[in-house]
């Protein structure tokens, strides 16, 4: 609308003067702010006090919330205006006058001359407290937002989840309480369903929550053994398995503290279970290793006898290998005495000891894999391709009898096969002199060769053989079986692969730095190093020239096999001879 504002003022000479201002605006704004159409200063006048609007020829006065004006002497917040109305505010008078041609409205303003400087300052907003900034407003807003996102939404989402309802992924719920990321695998399986593990408020995560998925993990102590102690329940899973950590891949507290808490004082609470004191890894802090060895004993089986193998736990300094093999590592590693077949090079450890894929164990030593390349089981130089069967003494006897029977009965071979071996002067070969029936000659020759194989060269080179003096040649010789320990420390880990290079030592040098094979002449020598060897390089605390190891570097907290301890204490029985063996136990060791 087009408005004419006529201001009445007293001129310099006391004569009233008019100052006209034309205003073209949608509405007439009145207040103390400088951007008002009609700026009025003084006490009680707000920055934006009132507006005059014109709609359909009708003028209306509207005050801002909380503000009032005097209209014709009466307090009003809103009013319809007509010609001649007088609006008063702060001592200023506004009169609605008849608009001259070309104007919609005319207002005569008689300003209050008594407005002083202090009222003048109030026309401006000069302090931050006059802006929308407010400490209380901001504090309440902050508190409301924190309560909403920190308590109400999480509680709501938690309740919904507990009721089995889904919530949209964008809704920030109880994951806002999460103290950090889950391990990636847990994140994948659980995501933002906190209640999977946190089943009750103010209750620590229970093992039962873990066991929903981890059903096959064995506890540290079998319940039957735990019952023998006064230790109480085993620690919660979360004692060691700490979640919500950075880095996200962290899940296991590997510190020794938890282990040493119990194992540092084996007198306390272990009851019937006797354990060594462990304070960490070091000479005085960790007991000497106790290898698990196999030992065979002869037992009566029906009318015959067999061998029973037991696992025994031995003190390292007294431990003897009892594999029943006759073997000298020193001899095999001496290049003056043994060279590899084929390339005639000295033997390496790895020629026989081949590391398995797990990096810890070695493939079992077997005649056909490791020994037979050099040690053939030939018996007749005239037939270098014929070999005796290994591991089956009865078959050996039968094979030799068959061989000689055929030899003595073959008309094309001549009576006697020439032997390449030099004859001892003055002695004649039996075969050459045998004039009896071919079968008798063959049996005699076979018997001779059988006795040679079992007592002088052949089986007896590596095996212990018992000569039972039985008249029946088939039953006469008993070969003592051989069995190697698969794992000297079955409950523990040792990574051979990571020890194949030790500083400047590689290959055999690395092996021999721990296993004194070059000095071992007897297979009874147990070449397992003691803890002193390990502590040359390892310690439980970070130190110069020491690689740190924790308990869990070598030991499993969760047993790989639940009954391992029971298995160790019980015997492993293997019957090596069939029950049909008729020989009596006893006899003397052949070839000794």
């Amino acid at each position: 609308m087009d408005a004419l504002l006529r201001e009445l003022r007293e001129g310099p000479d006391g004569i009233p003067e008019y100052y006209d201002t034309e205003i073209t605006s949608k509405e007439l704004t009145i207040g103390s702010a400088s951007d008002r159409n009609i700026q009025l200063l003084g006490r009680g006048i707000a920055a934006e006090h009132a507006v005059i609007v014109r709609a359909g020829g009708q003028l209306t006065l509207e005050c801002r919330r909380g503000e009032l004006v005097l209209l014709n002497g009466k307090k009003r917040a809103t009013a319809r205006l007509k010609l001649g109305d007088v609006i008063e505010l702060g001592g200023h008078r506004l009169r609605i006058a008849p608009p001259p041609p070309g104007f919609d409205v005319a207002i005569e303003l008689q300003a209050n001359e008594l407005v002083d400087a202090s009222a003048f300052e109030g026309a401006f907003r000069t302090d931050l407290s006059q802006t929308w900034l407010g400490k209380r407003t901001m504090a309440w807003t902050g508190v409301a937002l924190v309560m909403l996102f920190g308590l109400l939404l999480p509680m709501l989402v938690m309740k919904l989840h507990h009721a089995g309802k889904q919530t949209p992924s964008w809704l920030l719920g109880d994951e806002f309480w999460s103290t950090g990321p889950l391990h990636q695998v847990h994140q994948q399986a659980i995501g933002e369903r906190c209640e999977t593990c946190h089943q009750k408020l103010f209750q620590r995560v229970q093992d039962s929550a873990c066991e929903q998925c981890h059903r096959t993990t064995h506890d540290h102590i079998m319940p039957a053994r735990l019952a023998l102690t006064e230790l109480g329940p085993t620690p919660r899973c979360a004692t060691c398995h700490r979640e919500h950590n950075v880095p996200q891949t962290f899940l296991v507290n590997r510190s020794d503290g938890q282990c040493v808490d119990c194992h540092g004082d084996p007198e306390d609470g272990f009851g019937q279970i006797k354990l060594d004191r462990v304070l960490g890894f070091g000479l005085a802090r960790h007991p000497e290793f106790k290898p698990h060895l196999l030992a065979s004993t002869t037992v009566r089986v029906g009318s015959g006898f067999g061998y029973e193998w037991k696992t025994v736990v031995a003190e390292l300094d007294k431990a003897k290998e009892r594999s029943n093999l006759k073997f000298s590592h020193q001899q095999h590693m001496d290049p003056d005495r043994v060279l590899r077949r084929g390339d005639s090079q000295p033997m390496n450890c790895a020629d026989c000891h081949r590391l398995e894929a797990d990096g810890e164990h070695f493939t079992p030593i077997r005649m056909q894999d490791q020994c037979s390349q050099c040690h053939e089981l030939t018996f007749d130089p005239a037939s270098p391709d014929r070999q005796l069967p290994h591991g089956k003494p009865r078959e050996v006897v039968l094979t030799l009898q068959d061989y000689f029977t055929r030899k003595f009965s073959d008309p094309n071979m001549g009576r006697v096969a020439p032997r390449e071996r030099r004859r001892i002067p003055g002695q004649q070969r039996e075969e050459e002199n045998c004039t009896g029936a071919p079968f008798d000659c063959a049996m005699r020759a076979a018997r001779k060769e059988i006795e040679t194989q079992f007592t002088r060269r052949g089986c007896v080179g590596c095996h212990g053989v018992i000569d039972t003096r039985s008249a029946n040649i088939i039953d006469r010789f008993q070969v003592i079986p051989i069995r190697f320990v698969r794992d000297y420390f079955p409950a523990n880990r040792f990574d051979h692969r990571s020890h194949q290079i030790q500083g400047k030592l590689t290959g055999d040098e690395a092996c021999l730095s721990c296993h004194a094979a070059k000095k071992s002449q007897d297979s009874a020598d147990l070449m397992i190093p003691g803890i002193a060897k390990c502590t040359e390089c390892h310690a439980d605390k970070a130190a110069a020239e020491r690689v740190t190891v924790q308990c869990v570097s070598c030991h499993d907290y969760h047993p790989r096999e639940p009954g391992l301890l029971q298995t160790m204490s019980s015997s492993i029985s293997t019957w090596l001879d069939g029950p049909e063996t008729k020989t009596r136990p006893g006899g003397e060791l052949a070839g000794s």
Partner: protein, 290 residues
């Protein structure tokens, strides 16, 4: 000098307290070892968190202590000195407590709120150290009301002189006085935004920042002044307008300095309240989902 007394209170006693607290917190932090990542979940983390929470609670008490005029529990100056130093310590303690593990969660929100409070406190300390002198220098020892009184007088004189000049000059001066802005919103107060206008002749309002456009307009009429009286009036008017310009500058500067002196409290105090709530929820939620 209040600020010097604040920081050097009793030979900076609380500075040494704070340094002691920082060193012991660091020692505690490094006893956590590398068995698991250091954070609020280790026993050291719990200890650091408890110290931090107690510190926050105590630091908040300054707001109560400074209003307790009858209290003899230390001087407010001593409390404020300790507030500044121990509050700064909180940055180290809370960071060690967190193990610098942050994420989009309530715990990091608490940590961020704490940073907002402490940084706004640092800013407040800076303004309290440097702004009062600048404000006093700008006001030349007087009060703001005196500047406004001077402006009010100048406005009245300028209107009066302008009314004796040509009508367009009178309108220009009148409109310039009416449309002079001072202060205003937060931005206008803090950055002295000047939205002043004046009306010249028939045209639209002309921007009149720092009143320079008006002075130029009146000045441009001076060479063309016909009579001696008109020239004298214009001369007088220009003097008044220039004095008015100087007073306006000083008031604007006063509003700006005063605004910056006080703005930090609008964050320091409300965010502290939000922080207290977040802190309580942080502690409770840790045990909600233990």
């Amino acid at each position: 000098m209040i600020h010097r007394n604040l920081l050097m209170y009793r030979g900076a006693r609380y500075l040494w307290w704070s340094l002691g607290l920082i060193v012991s917190s660091c020692v505690l932090y490094f006893t956590q070892g590398d068995a698991q990542p250091p954070n609020g979940g280790t026993w050291q983390g719990y200890v650091l968190g408890t110290i931090g929470a107690l510190l926050i609670a105590w630091l908040t008490m300054l707001g109560i202590r400074k209003r307790s005029y009858s209290s003899t529990l230390g001087t407010v100056q001593g409390w404020t000195s300790a507030h500044v130093y121990l509050g700064s310590t909180l940055v180290v303690i809370a960071t060690l407590h967190s193990g610098v593990q942050v994420g989009w969660n309530l715990h990091t929100l608490t940590y961020v709120l704490m940073w907002v409070v402490i940084l706004s406190g640092f800013f407040g300390l800076y303004t309290y150290m440097s702004y009062p002198q600048r404000i006093a220098k700008n006001r030349e020892g007087g009060a703001r009301a005196e500047l406004f009184a001077e402006l009010f007088e100048l406005d009245r004189d300028a209107r009066s002189v302008a009314s004796r000049c040509a009508p367009d000059i009178a309108i220009a001066v009148d409109s310039a006085i009416e449309r002079t802005t001072l202060g205003g919103g937060i931005y206008a107060q803090l950055f002295s935004r000047d939205d002043s206008y004046f009306i010249r002749g028939e045209g639209k309002p002309i921007r009149n920042p720092d009143q320079q456009a008006l002075i130029d307009f009146v000045g441009s009429r001076l060479p063309r002044a016909a009579k001696g009286a008109e020239a004298a009036n214009l001369q007088q008017l220009i003097v008044l307008l220039c004095r008015r310009q100087a007073v306006l500058r000083r008031i604007r500067r006063d509003i700006r300095l005063y605004g910056w002196l006080r703005i930090w409290l609008y964050f320091h105090v409300p965010v502290t309240i939000a922080l207290l709530v977040a802190l309580v929820l942080h502690i409770i939620s840790t045990f909600f989902y233990w």
